[in-house]
């Protein structure tokens, strides 16, 4: 795999993100409403003089294109501006929250791929078997359940009936001085329900997809070749077939990443998870435009990186793509 390929993809990703920045900036600035009034409202009220000084302070009295230039050149230098609501730089707010979001999204992604693919492979072995039926039904159900509703149902269940998992936040505040290992276990404990809630819909999709993909691969000539060699069923399934069936799964995993971030937004809101999604949601309710733009920027960056990783792993998984661009 060539570095030039990665660099080209990265450069292209940056270009996409520049587009994201410009589009969002223009959208937000052209929309009706005076951000200064919003800021003043958050302070608890204001006079005209205060409104004017707020406009001055946040550069809201300059022409839109000048504001755009200031914003874009700021972003290029890593400065995402100041939050309208919090008295803090947006980059700091995001830095505090991107970790929990990545933790949640990656856990959910791994959970859904591992379990989903395993179920799918098992199901593909007997296309008419019980397991296969279960996977098909489960996949359709998993796809149809609203993710926020699953979360709420789990909270109802685990808050009262079966209180074995915490239903809120990422950490017990009272353990904040505890040793690292204890804290890690505590975070993992808090992670179970949100990650599972987020994973369930994708888990179902991966199960269904890998079942279909495996069935297709299992009908191919090279699987017959493997069997003709005398390869065991397990080797046929997991060595010969899965490597090939993994290609469409990888594609979908890459494409799903954006959706996963959207799902994380809902899950974070339901479980009070201290991540970027909840920050985005609350910022939207507060009309905290710089923060919204910052989160959109970082979320798109995550998607760009995820797509790049998908491309790279795709090339690793499929030798036919190597050495091409």
């Amino acid at each position: 795999m060539s570095t030039s390929f990665i660099l080209r993809r990265l450069g292209y990703g940056l270009l996409l993100m520049l587009g994201v920045v410009v589009l969002n900036f223009l959208l937000i600035r052209l929309a009706p409403g005076d951000p200064a009034v919003v800021i003043a409202g958050e302070m608890g009220g204001a006079t005209e003089e205060m409104l004017e000084s707020i406009r001055e302070e946040y550069g809201l009295n300059k022409p839109v294109l000048v504001q755009l230039w200031i914003y874009v050149s700021g972003v290029a230098q890593g400065n995402l501006g100041e939050s309208f609501f919090f008295n803090q730089p947006v980059s700091k707010l995001i830095a505090q929250r991107i970790g929990p979001t990545i933790l949640l999204v990656i856990s959910a992604q791994l959970l859904s791929i591992l379990i989903g693919v395993f179920l799918g492979v098992i199901a593909a072995r007997k296309p008419n078997g019980l397991m296969s039926g279960f996977v098909t039904v489960f996949a359709t159900i998993g796809y149809a359940v609203p993710v926020f509703w699953t979360g709420i149902m789990l909270i109802i269940l685990f808050a009262s009936a079966l209180p074995i998992f915490p239903v809120e936040g990422m950490q017990s505040v009272k353990l904040r001085d505890a040793p690292f290992f204890t804290q890690a276990v505590d975070v993992a404990h808090h992670l179970v329900l949100p990650a599972f809630t987020l994973a369930i819909i994708y888990l179902a999709q991966y199960a269904r997809l890998s079942r279909a993909s495996m069935l297709e691969v299992l009908g191919s000539d090279y699987i017959r070749t493997a069997r003709a060699k005398g390869a065991s069923e397990r080797s046929v399934l997991f060595r010969h077939a899965l490597r090939n069936a993994a290609l469409p799964i990888l594609t979908v995993a890459g494409l799903q990443f954006g959706n996963l971030i959207s799902g994380a937004l809902l899950v974070e809101t339901v479980f009070n998870w201290p991540g970027m999604g909840r920050l985005a949601f609350e910022s939207i309710l507060r009309r905290d435009y710089p923060t919204i733009m910052g989160v959109l920027f970082f979320a798109s960056a995550m998607v760009v990186v995820a797509n790049l990783l998908t491309d790279i792993s795709y090339r690793w998984a499929d030798p036919r793509l190597r050495g091409r661009s």
């Binding site: 990703g13 149809a144 609203p146 509703w149 959207s262 939207i284 309710l285």
Partner: protein
């Protein structure tokens, strides 16, 4: 097994219909969706009441009063009335958003797939751009900026969902435009516009119809998500709004959240059963035995 193909070939549509008719889950989907649509369309005539009206004490559990069998919400509004009136907007937004998605997606996908070259390049860059934006987040911003109404919500969902349709259409067009009958159409001098819309598109329809069906399901979930977050139109009852509004009381009352969730679930479930059925019907070869 080529040995087992039919002696006489049926027309593809008839074959698809025959396959669909025999697909029990798909028929169940049609039945469930039919019942839900009928209930949301006509249910209010049999079961009177504005869903916003406070009719009884708050948080009356299901079964406690004969008059309000599914109980009441935090304001004392009737859950059944909410379910019946809240379905319409949810379904309507789902359908309109899916329509917008299909129109944008098919148009751009068709142009890209047919013309290829720089047109394809440009349109695909735009598509990728929209795929990089996290859909729900972007839709939330759009809805907030342009104040929530059923239309802005449907448009926002459509604007963020079309890339997948565009890619699918493009792929189909790439495949079909090389086939003999397209060449034949060119040979008799048909114009591009004609070839795109009357020659290639009809043949690309089967996967697009399946995709459209599934898009409706996705759009319904999307609308529910936005309403749940409080970004739906607060003055129009919808299932998502019911869940979002009652969410803070789940420790005291599970029913105002559970029933609308089930309603969303069954609707999307039915839609996806139909989508799967159509998929199987249009692609008997890919059918997962």
């Amino acid at each position: 097994m080529s040995d087992m193909t039919d002696y006489k070939a049926e027309s593809p549509a008839r074959e698809a219909w025959r396959m669909f008719r025999r697909n029990v889950p798909a028929l169940a989907g049609v039945l469930i969706l039919g019942i839900i649509v009928l209930l949301t369309l006509y249910g209010q005539f049999f079961y009177a009441g504005d869903a916003f009206d406070v009719v009884w004490a708050p948080h009356e559990p299901p079964g406690a009063t004969a008059e309000y069998p599914l109980g009441t919400d935090y304001l004392g509004r009737d859950i059944i009335a909410g379910l019946l009136t809240g379905g319409g907007p949810t379904l309507a937004v789902g359908a309109v958003a899916a329509a917008i998605t299909m129109v944008i997606g098919i148009t751009l996908g068709a142009l890209a797939g047919f013309y290829g070259g720089w047109v394809d390049n440009l349109l695909m860059r735009i598509t990728e751009f929209f795929q990089v934006l996290p859909a729900l987040l972007f839709a939330m911003v759009l809805v907030t900026l342009f104040s929530p109404s059923l239309w802005t919500i449907a448009i926002a969902i459509g604007v963020v969902s079309w890339p997948q349709t565009a890619r699918l259409t493009r792929a189909e067009f790439f495949k079909i435009k090389e086939l003999e009958y397209v060449t034949a159409a060119r040979a008799i001098g048909a114009r591009n516009k004609r070839i795109i819309w009357t020659v290639i598109l009809p043949n690309a329809m089967p996967p697009l119809i399946v995709s459209a069906t599934l898009t409706i399901g996705v759009a319904i979930l999307f609308e529910a998500g936005l309403s749940f977050l409080g970004l739906g139109d607060p003055n129009v009852m919808s299932w998502g709004l019911m869940i979002g509004a009652n969410r803070e009381y789940i420790l005291d009352a599970w029913w105002p959240v559970t029933f609308p969730g089930l309603a969303i679930f069954f609707t999307v479930f039915a839609v996806s059963l139909i989508g799967d059925g159509l998929n199987d019907a249009f692609n008997p070869k890919l059918r997962e035995r």
